[in-house]
């Protein structure tokens, strides 16, 4: 069942979430970008703003309407909430050699404005951190009380390629509520619920049942977003393509441009690499272990006893791209890429993974012709 919420009543949704005890986090304009931060009311949302993206370039721009969600994605992703940059794992004191697990006050949080590609990214990190023999307790605790308000994508950037990976632009599952922003005629949102928690919040909202015209308009929004990015990435053969080209000279060509700075991995909504950092107080009475974001582009990330397995930029770039697009599938059952385009926009050297894959494909075809 779908309902329609007037755009003017968007604040009622945020209020309903807050009334249920959720901390509400969503998009807002700060420091020249659309970031994810706590929202006080609907006025904090980036209405009237959009983002213009190109390889190595991101700029905000004014829209000619007052859309609340009329942009693609910013530099932040939800992993900042679910897998924070620094987490204390435990601390110990010499006094009786006591080791304490860190007590964290996990506050229920509503994520507002989650793009379908980001729903896919959260599902990927769920598999990484919750499935299998070694579930991550910190991730699980943060994830348990999250309320997901998805917003289908109506304004993909020039870097988006979710439709090639089947992760968007429409939201099919994995949300509590899914919104589609509609402009034709009255400014309104189509609202669908995807969970019992979603049903309960939806019941609090001043909505009306969706008419056929509302549903059709919403479909058109998503279809247009898919059409706008059609054919940007050929995902079907990428697994085998990359794995049979591990010694391609193209890796050297990328390495000449790659700065090995790690920005791509840090903005990626699925990249999860961390390291543990042990610290001790000056007096030697206490010690602690933190988990902090790392990147496979740092030299020390592949340092182990006896040497370093990825001592060159070429080796590190190849590791990242082949893991993201190929071996991730073998490891976790899906691609590690959701097509959000962040690694392209936020690469200072403007490296575009789509172009790199295309170059390898061309070279591969040439070699096998």
């Amino acid at each position: 069942m779908a309902e329609v919420l007037a755009a003017a009543d968007l604040g009622v949704l945020l209020g309903a979430l807050r009334a249920r005890g959720y901390r509400v986090v969503g998009p807002r304009v700060a420091a020249g970008v659309i970031q994810y931060a706590e929202l006080d009311d609907a006025g904090d949302l980036p209405h009237g703003w959009t983002d213009e993206q190109a390889p190595g370039r991101y700029r905000l721009a004014r829209r000619d309407d007052d859309a609340y969600f009329g942009y693609a994605v910013g530099p932040h992703s939800w992993k900042r909430e679910l897998l924070p940059p620094r987490v204390r794992l435990w601390q110990a004191s010499r006094d009786g050699l006591a080791v304490e697990e860190e007590e964290t006050d996990y506050q229920p949080t509503a994520f507002v404005g989650v793009r379908p590609c980001e729903l896919a990214a959260i599902a990927i990190q769920d598999r990484v951190f919750l499935d299998g023999r070694f579930a991550d307790r910190d991730y699980a605790a943060r994830r348990a009380d999250v309320f997901l308000v998805a917003v289908e994508c109506g304004s993909p950037s020039s870097l988006c390629f979710c439709s090639s990976l089947g992760t968007g632009p429409g939201a099919t599952d994995g949300f509590d509520l899914a919104l589609t922003e509609l402009h034709a005629g009255e400014h309104r949102f189509l609202v669908r619920s995807g969970s019992s928690a979603g049903n309960a919040v939806l019941a609090d909202l001043p909505t009306r049942p969706a008419a056929r015209a509302d549903l059709e308009t919403a479909e058109q929004v998503v279809e247009a977003a898919a059409r706008a990015q059609a054919g940007r990435f050929a995902a079907e053969d990428v697994h085998d393509l990359l794995l049979r080209n591990l010694e391609s000279p193209h890796w050297d060509a990328v390495a000449e441009r790659c700065l090995s700075c790690g920005n791509c991995t840090l903005v990626c909504p699925t990249c999860f690499c961390t390291h543990v950092e042990d610290t001790s107080s000056l007096d030697g009475e206490t010690a602690a272990r933190d988990r902090v974001w790392d990147t496979c582009f740092s030299l020390r990330y592949a340092e182990m006893h006896g040497g370093n397995t990825r001592p060159t930029t070429r080796a590190r770039y190849r590791q990242w791209l082949t893991h993201k697009l190929a071996t991730w599938e073998d490891q976790f059952g899906t691609s590690g890429c959701v097509g959000c385009g962040r690694c392209i926009a936020w690469c200072p050297a403007a490296i575009d993974i789509r172009a790199e894959v295309a170059a390898i494909r061309q070279e591969d075809a040439h070699a096998h012709a």
Binding site: C258, S260, C261, N263, S280, W293, F297, T312, P348, A350
Partner: protein, 229 residues
């Protein structure tokens, strides 16, 4: 009762900013004084305890014949020697002289050039004596200095990352000033440690922490192509 490790702080050609970051520790200074005996630190106290010293922090570069001799004495009386700051780890801004004729510079700067006794180059401490650890920064970050001292006391490896400033920007949630504003920023090639100080205030990194790991592999044109994009 075991003796506290002794700490000595030495100055060569430098501005004193790095050793001042030890005094700047304020809140942690009592903990430092509790953990080590500050045996030689002229910036802080004229009381000098005799060597040898367990830990020597060395600031500044080697620029005079006297420096070049004295650093060997410092090494001889130091169990562990850590060079701190850009001057001590690279030669510092005074190393710019290497690109010029020394005589031209001396006569351009000093009224009585004959009073000046100096080497042609300004070089890092590690170019003269074995160094146990190099801490980069201009000036160094006091948190990193405390971490190095604490790690040495505990006998563990110091958490001093050698990757880019970008990692610190991303952890802090600071939007990339290079990508979002086209500002020239050396962050991708500069070693972390400052906590992304300049980008946090909307400015480009100007590289005061020196080159990151394998920075010579960074293609300057590739980085420069991002400026003003």
């Amino acid at each position: 009762m075991t003796r506290k490790p002794t700490l000595a702080v030495w100055k060569f050609s430098s501005c004193d900013g790095c050793q001042l970051s030890l005094l700047d520790c304020e809140d942690e200074l009592l903990a430092v004084a509790g953990a080590v005996e500050i045996a030689y630190f002229l910036e802080a106290s004229s009381a000098v305890a005799r060597g040898p010293y367990d830990l020597s922090l060395v600031e500044g570069s080697i620029t005079t014949p006297h420096d070049a001799e004295r650093i060997h004495q410092v090494r001889r009386v130091s169990k562990t020697l850590v060079s701190i700051g850009a001057c001590a780890t690279t030669g510092g801004i005074q190393a710019l002289r290497s690109a010029h004729r020394l005589g031209d510079l001396v006569s351009a700067v000093y009224a009585r050039p004959e009073y000046i006794s100096t080497l042609r180059t300004s070089t890092a401490i590690a170019d003269h004596v074995p160094v146990d650890f190099e801490l980069q920064g201009c000036p160094i970050a006091k948190a990193q200095l405390l971490e190095v001292v604490g790690a040495l006391l505990a006998g563990r490896r110091a958490n001093v990352p050698t990757y880019s400033v970008c990692v610190e920007c991303k952890r802090a949630g600071v939007p990339c000033v290079l990508v979002s504003r086209g500002l020239p920023c050396l962050g991708p090639a500069t070693q972390a440690g400052c906590g992304a100080l300049c980008p946090s205030y909307g400015r480009g990194c100007f590289g005061c922490f020196g080159p990151k790991e394998q920075a010579s592999d960074v293609e300057a044109p590739s980085l420069a192509s991002a400026f003003g994009r």
